[in-house]
Symmetry: D2
Subunit: 291 residues, 4 copies
């Protein structure tokens, strides 16, 4: 994919299908001297919904970052339903801010931090959060602040209050659950709905606890992993990315766990990268992923 190092603007739009959306938006950009780098859209005719993504260079663009939103609103707002603005705008020189949450397993955390350092994930990571202390040294090796927030059945509500405050303080845009083994409350998700999770099965198979044990018991010949946005219903949110690998009768549950770790970190990393590039739109319980 094109990853221009020059500053770009990315418009995401999700609105009722209607004629001329692409023409009006690309015209708007062209008339202000913008050079479109990437443009993709999709119409789900079964629900009459248009979803689109346009990315263009800000260099030479006639509108500044502060002038753009109101000008765009004139073109785009009319496309939505009365109740809401149908679009979001992102600038590539304003990095999304993510918080990675982990528990005791290190593979997803280490992988995300390595990719971040390697330049694969363009984001700020102001804080890593965990209900355990084991992974603090890894955070330290990558120079990212680590916050230990213990969670016990009795302290869960308090812990969530504390983490919400941390998310606000650090202006976090997205929480990435990188094998964080706690279920978030409905209250928490209402206050902070931008949460991505990695589940260690090809959902909807083996939702819930111990998917590798379930997979082994069922005798499947493939196992998978699923990255999805978190919704109040467990493991039922919009799927962003899935991948599988083959297994055989020779693989014990421990082998599934081992093979699954590679799936989990690959799938989660791909989903985080797609999200950070503003390539994922959700509608209903589905995603559109503009790769």
């Amino acid at each position: 994919m094109m990853n221009s190092m020059k500053p770009t603007a990315t418009l995401l739009i999700s609105c009722p299908d209607q004629k001329g959306i692409v023409a009006r938006l690309s015209n708007f950009i062209f008339q202000h001297g913008g050079n479109i780098l990437d443009s993709d859209h999709h119409t789900d005719f079964s629900v009459d919904r248009f979803l689109g993504r346009i990315e263009w260079e800000m260099e030479g663009f006639a509108l500044s970052k502060s002038e753009l939103p109101p000008a765009l609103a004139e073109v785009a707002d009319s496309m939505g339903r009365p109740e809401g603005r149908p679009w979001q705008l992102h600038f590539s020189d304003e990095l999304p801010r993510i918080s990675i949450w982990c528990s005791r397993q290190d593979h997803c955390l280490l992988d995300l931090l390595w990719r971040h350092r390697a330049g694969e994930l363009r984001a700020e990571i102001p804080i890593i959060l965990s209900n355990h202390e084991e992974l603090e040294p890894i955070a330290g090796q990558f120079g990212i602040p680590f916050q230990h927030v213990p969670v016990t059945p009795g302290s869960k509500a308090d812990a969530e209050t504390q983490t919400l405050a941390l998310l606000k303080e650090h202006r976090v845009d997205l929480v990435v659950l990188a094998k964080y083994m706690q279920v978030l409350s409905d209250d928490f998700l209402r206050s902070f709905p931008a949460v991505m999770n990695i589940h260690h099965s090809f959902l909807p198979a083996f939702a819930g606890a111990q998917p590798y044990h379930q997979a082994h018991a069922r005798g499947v010949k493939v196992i998978g992993a699923t990255a999805h946005y978190v919704t109040p219903e467990l493991d039922a949110g919009p799927i962003i990315e899935q991948e599988i690998t083959r297994v055989s009768h020779r693989d014990t549950v421990d082998d599934l766990v081992r093979k699954g770790r590679d799936l989990e970190r690959m799938v989660l990393a791909r989903a985080v990268r797609l999200h950070l590039q503003h390539r994922v739109l959700t509608y209903g319980n589905r995603t559109v992923v503009f790769e």
Copy 2:
């Protein structure tokens, strides 16, 4: 895989784990002058079960096809539980006899018949059976007898009686459900338990009706197909083979159906081939596949 054109014998064994099984069996074959071509085994320690497969050349072997079973029984019977013989024996010059059952969709039938003609499936196909007449011309093009057995809610029991008689008459070893869209009764399966099916999802996800519609509604990023032995519980029998392919938001249900057809015929063909080479053993609700 080794597919000697010389006659071979294949021993399958499934018994409680114990020391010396491989030694005793390979010794038995060696002492009678047999040349082992392929030998594989697996122990599931969680249930203390040994499963093995040995294939050797009959050319130069000291025992004839009629002398072999009683001689083998002396060695192998002691390994099983009191109640039953733990082993089966197959000769490569006695082709398994399969009956393919289809309905209106032609892709799996056509694929199996083409593979049979191409020499990929070493079997006799004495009869194709369908509850509809549409695919009779395809059977005719490959020179295989076709029997139309209509099934209505009222006639199902009679139809099953008729088909059981046909299976007996044609000495069928295995029924392959190649998109045969009827559920077999428990009675039928008790009388004829050797039935393989292709289900158009990665089981256990999307069991039951319309799996592609279910998959589309859930917004998955991969779809799959599963070949399994049929048991009374719908889509819950031992899994032989699975495969998946990627899909995206651009794929409609019709696209899933189209992509799924390729998965279905590949997966079913692989499972049939493995079965015909006596490479699949079942225990509990699991399979061991000696590829």
Copy 3:
């Protein structure tokens, strides 16, 4: 992918990169009342080339099929280099006409004909052509005329003259080499350059003769197949699609041939389908595939 059954027009464009291409084209369509179904484009910055594809519904479009080209020319011609028109236009109700060429192996031919009958390949197939007679019955079963054109070292030029006449007579748009084991002359390709081939390796590995033997000798752990457009240099034309499958030490050359057949027919079918949907553009020795 969206496959509207309503008539559509598809514009393919390939020209030097410049600002406003998308805006001008989508505007042109919008102003004439067209509803864009699909729009995709790509810029290869290393050679400053823009490649795009736009598909829109003709229902309700203000211009008829005969009025459209001159009107479009006014907008689009200026984008090309002086020497040539940068665009092509296709109407979905004018089916492309393909000729399938085969030799003695039946798997790719049978697969393409089955897919054609199943509605996966929207094309006319006016004629199948072969240098051998073996596959005539398969053509007959699908009701497609079959022409036997023998090729010997001495008769090759005459045979090519004869086939060029046949292609002209049947107004063929694309020749699909479905395991046609002859090399086409440079003269032939100059007269008829629209030829697609399936090669049984993951090119550029194992170009030329007997790729499965080469693969086995090298001891690779994956084998592949490649669909590409034919150019005078053997097996070096623009690649449209590739796929691989795993092999092991257990696989003999015959096993590679068997596994390869499945790759070949899948890859060729995908490439033909993409071509027929006008989703493949070439530039230099590369393709852009708008999936």
Copy 4:
């Protein structure tokens, strides 16, 4: 795969094909009270070669680790050619000792060290060696000694002398080139032939320098990575493992590099693990991998 934590012995054998090999070896183990956990073999009939692997528990085995080799020699030596012993023996409680060599790229090193810590790679890593200093901190984080051995055109022979001494001092069994970007001399390989490399293409395509640039220029739709043993001919040694991933016209060379990193670390890790479990045998320029 079975990964018993109890001590086991693993016998690898590679000899001319002959009757009774499996019987004699399994008998030998059985008669001394050994419980076979895993047994696999393969005959390459094209060169009349038998290759086998047997793993059994040492607990309860009648022979001690020192008594076993001479006893085994009596059975197994006769199977080889006059010139040499056809077998090797490994004990699971004697960990293989590997040295990882790297240059400036960290992904393969970090991945191997993480897997080692996670228990996926049962080996001692007495020393990491690099011609650059950049990765010393990673070695430090995992507590593994790091040795910087600079290599310049003029100093290469001296550097190899120094590294050979280090390998001897640390009793290294296998050198793993984890993106070590230097070619080893023939002299070095004669002195220390046990070297594994990761090459960033699906060999034999794109051997030599800059395979991702080559792949991009050729316009392939898949890229790959290959783990192989090193021989004097560049990138031509026996292949252990290969994997591929899909790419499209949207992927720049930088994208291929990024996607390739994931392939490289996965493929190298799998190959190292298979080697450490004594599952890889070579003969001629091929491998047998007993997964």
